[in-house]
Symmetry: C3
Subunit: 152 residues, 3 copies
């Protein structure tokens, strides 16, 4: 049964969607770097090597709203995608139907892709709020199944 | 053996406690939203749609100590609960005694519930420090078993 | 096969390296505490109990660049080490060669140890950038294998 779980189609689907959404999260790092370089706004003294004068260097260490926006988006990813991955793995091991599981995984991944677009552009609210909420509902739904299958 | 691990009582217990403590962590997001709305303190221009005047909008984009407190608590959860989940899963797969495992899981979950109460109210120190330390000790104890079972 | 996966040498190696790198990440918390106490810079009113006068207390609630540096390093760990652990687990379950897997795990753990040193001292750039990039490449390489093995 365990081998059938780890080799099951649900597990393969989970592997794929979890990897996709984690890769999406990791792309926030280069995106932050992109905004730091184009907005010339850095957090560390040693990152401002391209400054020509001390005044320019000082200016480069001031915060920038675009950089902060991407960083908030990245932190929101950590707060939402990691719970999805953890609870999603435990959910997968409870042996759900493939179609039900795929519905959960696809809605979650779609909601987070849309969340990033809505946060970075930004789109008017409640786009971002709805994207965030859809992801939460998916994770809560999977957590419900995990808790139903278990006993303290 | 693998199937006996994944279907074992220790694994079911881990599933349950990991899910509970991850759900607790996820509840920090609505709690942040609650404080943002009651304190009228937002991070994004597009979240201040209910402002009637530009001055009111500007005021809404100023930080608030209660909001920042909940956000620090959320970040502390990420820093502590995720290591517990990862090391706890590996620990579970080493096949520990059920009673020893339950002791680890229950102390950790209890320490994090108390940590949140101590951080948000807030309770006087060293309540929060002790709660944080108990959780760390549990995770270190599980990590010790994982490393003892393994070989580089 | 599943049991051979969970009991395999690759899995034992993954367990060990994942635990080591998570422990390294957890050590950022005591390091933050150390800098908070030596720099006398705290985030919460209730943490400033050793202040003798209200003026001293107020001073203790001002940010400090060394503390912020360690906190950024910790957040960078969360952003990079957790993706490694998640994708590394899925990668391990695809049954890679032991030597290939060890190469991935060792380069990643080495890159993050060096990243912490480069961030906290700090070393001149591009030390930190190269350390960060090596870790990203390892995780992307493992993600590539996970996605190749799977099908949507």
């Amino acid at each position: 049964m365990a081998s059938s779980v780890i080799e099951s189609e649900v597990f393969l689907a989970f592997s794929t969607y979890a990897t996709i959404v984690i890769l999406k999260m990791m792309l926030m790092s280069p995106m932050t770097a992109y905004f730091r370089f184009t907005r010339k706004s850095f957090a560390n003294q040693e990152d401002t090597g391209m400054a020509k004068t001390p005044e320019e260097r000082k200016k480069m260490l001031v915060g920038n709203p675009d950089v902060e926006r991407v960083r908030r988006c990245h932190l929101n990813d950590l707060e939402n995608i990691i719970p999805f991955v953890v609870i999603g793995l435990l959910y997968t091991l409870t042996g759900p139907d493939l179609s039900t599981a795929l519905l959960h995984f696809r809605v979650f991944v779609g909601s987070r892709l849309f969340h990033t677009v809505a946060y970075v552009l930004p789109l008017p609210q409640p786009s971002r709020a709805l994207a965030w909420m859809s992801g939460m509902v998916v994770t809560f739904s999977m957590a419900y199944r995990v808790l139903s299958a278990a006993h303290l």
